[in-house]
């Protein structure tokens, strides 16, 4: 930000020798490192085409894009699509669902691996520890499609989870993915099943770096295990937790639409349809290209805003931040 505010150095007459030096520096650099730049070429080209290309294409959000007319000849419509989205019937539904699904994700999905790591850290038997780790890592390697297939099987009429839920509650459930109020738990807890072990690795790594003298001092004072966990382990890994939390908030509006597309159906759109799945459906299934680009743009702006906000708060409150 500060760089932008600085006035540009004016040098209309060319008296300042600096540019010349820069030029010579660049020439020298190009001569010496030409091969490295040749190597950088495909990488930079890839980023320009596959990452910056779509950024440029975002301008169709302000146009009435017709594939037959092409980018240049489609008419400009200003903020029409944005206004359509904000005033449309689905605005609140998709925003609410996106936020709530992520609140669930942070409340349960984000904390679960931390708890697992804390518990694993207290295990002395390395054989038991390794067994738990090996098995809980496994679901991470199962593809998303298969995981969702398993969810479909387990929540079908006769599925294990359906039967279990009917048994516990005493009510008869048919296919669970047909109930709006069950989508968030299914989505969140299947996510925990798939990633709890894997996500705990990073916390275990952080725990292995804690200075053992801290625990020894606590032992001398006769501090119990739970208290050590709470007052030593947790504060010691908090920088890692904060960084990952910032990432989690930053991904708030965009996460997991592939999984939603694989799980939802029109019956439960009222809780399952999020911004990203709405963009996918309107854009690629119903071909409202400009409109869904506008919706996507809104979500990525909000995303970045959230990331920036969390980072600022984290910076003020603690020493860990992304930038």
């Amino acid at each position: 930000m500060e760089i932008l505010r600085k006035p540009r150095e004016m040098d209309p007459v060319g008296l300042n020798p600096k540019p010349k030096n820069t030029k010579r520096l660049i020439q020298k650099d190009l001569k010496k490192n030409w091969f490295v730049y040749l190597m950088a070429l495909p990488v930079v080209a890839w980023f320009l085409i596959f990452c910056y290309g779509p950024m440029w294409g975002v301008m169709i959000a302000f146009k009435d894009f017709k594939p037959l007319l092409g980018f240049a000849d489609s008419d400009w419509v200003g903020f029409k699509h944005f206004i359509d989205f904000f005033t449309g019937p689905y605005f609140w539904r998709v925003v609410k669902n996106t936020l709530l699904l992520n609140v669930w994700g942070i409340a349960f999905g984000f904390t679960a691996p931390i708890i697992l790591a804390l518990l694993l850290n207290e295990i002395r038997s390395s054989k038991f520890k390794r067994t738990v780790q090996t098995i809980t890592y496994m679901p991470h390697f199962i593809s998303l499609v298969v995981v969702c297939g398993i969810i479909h099987i387990f929540t079908a009429n006769e599925g294990v989870v359906t039967q279990l839920l009917s048994f516990i509650t005493g009510k008869d459930y048919s296919s669970l993915l047909g109930y709006s109020n069950l989508f968030r738990p299914i989505y969140t807890f299947s996510g925990i099943w798939q990633s709890i072990g894997w996500d705990s690795i990073i916390y275990l790594a952080a725990m292995s770096g804690i200075d053992p003298s801290l625990y020894e001092a606590a032992d001398i004072d006769g501090v119990g295990r739970v208290k050590k966990m709470w007052y030593i382990t947790l504060p010691q890994i908090s920088p890692v937790i904060i960084i990952l939390f910032i990432f989690a908030i930053g991904g708030l509006m965009s996460s997991g639409y592939e999984k939603i597309i694989l799980l939802y159906n029109p019956l439960i759109y009222d809780t399952a349809d999020v911004i990203a799945s709405y963009v996918y459906r309107r854009g690629l299934r119903e071909a409202s290209l400009s409109y869904s680009t506008a919706v996507g743009l809104v979500s990525s702006i909000v995303n970045f805003g959230l990331l920036w906000m969390t980072n600022t708060i984290a910076k003020r409150r603690s020493e860990s931040s992304l930038w």
Binding site: Y52, P67, Y137, S143, G149, H152, L284
Partner: protein, 311 residues
């Protein structure tokens, strides 16, 4: 090391308070329960895939052992041409894709690990921005169509050729190599390319293994780009066919015949067999990647560590 540790462990066991013992028991119980919950779905699928289809249909709830034994489901899966073709496609996409991934990532990481590059910061900024901003799905899709990647084998390779995160992990690995080793090679008159091949790459084997595996698993499991960009069934990778078999919630998906094109002859043409085929297809599509995993677990874990140092 063991000799020093043992007396200490014994001593602490003697001094265990009641509270600590309760804590230990709870801890072991909770973790055992969690492990069983994590493992059960995998067992269930395995048991179901060899069960008698009729008995499987009649069965409700938890499955603790196979119901009867039959390999008919697997026979059907391996006889199915579209699935076999999907398998073949996946192997091509994974092989070619991972190769492109590795070459591109090595190039990117090498460039960014150079200390004396004038435009290094510029390249770094160009790359970092993409971690926070993107154009979104629709502009991306239109671009892919414009540059001819629609319904094309390269649609499975080029759009996913690089991952910014992996570039950064590998760059961190490259930077940890002592400068002196490179300088010695420079004095010997080695070119920059030969420094990369003879000094840097051999010294980064562990990190290379990590990102190789990340890409491998990612490519094997990828399906979304295939669904969006591929139209021709001949080009479909295994995961997209799996989606058709397992997830039939999408009204517009073209599910040909029963169970995603698996040909079931009329005598067996029952829902029971269709169910059985689901389980077998899950096993057949997942086993290769799960077999890779135990052998390489330590590398994966190491990779997360490397990433965490960066983070």
């Amino acid at each position: 090391m063991k000799d020093i540790m043992q007396p200490k462990a014994k001593r602490s066991r003697k001094h265990k308070s009641i509270g600590d013992r309760v804590f230990d028991w709870t801890n072991y119980t909770v973790l055992t329960a969690l492990t069983l919950v994590c493992f059960y779905p995998i067992l269930h699928i395995l048991f179901a895939s060899v069960s008698d289809p009729g008995a499987l249909m009649a069965h409700k709830g938890v499955l603790l052992k196979p119901l009867g034994f039959t390999l008919d489901g697997y026979k059907l899966v391996f006889k199915d041409n579209s699935l076999l073709n999907g398998y073949k496609n996946t192997i091509i996409y994974v092989g070619l894709g991972t190769l492109v991934n590795m070459v591109m990532t090595i190039l990117g990481a090498y460039v960014l690990s150079r200390r004396d590059l004038y435009f290094k910061n510029f390249i770094m900024i160009v790359i970092t921005i993409t971690m926070f901003f993107g154009g979104g799905l629709i502009p991306w899709f239109l671009l892919m169509k414009d540059i001819g990647l629609y319904n094309n084998l390269w649609a499975m390779i080029l759009p996913t050729a690089l991952s910014t995160w992996n570039i950064i992990i590998l760059r961190t690995g490259f930077q940890s190599i002592p400068k002196e080793l490179e300088e010695a090679a420079v004095i010997d008159g080695a070119s920059q390319f030969s420094i990369l091949v003879t000094v840097i790459l051999p010294l980064s084997k562990a990190t290379l293994a990590v990102i190789f595996l990340y890409y491998l698993v990612g490519n094997w499991n990828s399906w979304f780009n295939a669904m969006v960009l591929l139209k021709d069934r001949e080009l479909f990778p295994l995961q997209l066919l799996m989606k058709e078999i397992l997830v039939a919630n999408d009204a517009t998906a073209t599910t040909i015949g029963s169970a995603g094109g698996v040909v079931i002859n009329s005598a067996q043409s029952s829902t029971a067999f269709r169910e059985l085929v689901k389980y077998c297809a899950i096993v057949v599509s997942t086993v290769p990647i799960l077999l890779v995993y135990p052998f390489l677990q330590k590398y994966f874990v190491k990779g997360v560590y490397v990433g965490s140092i960066k983070g």
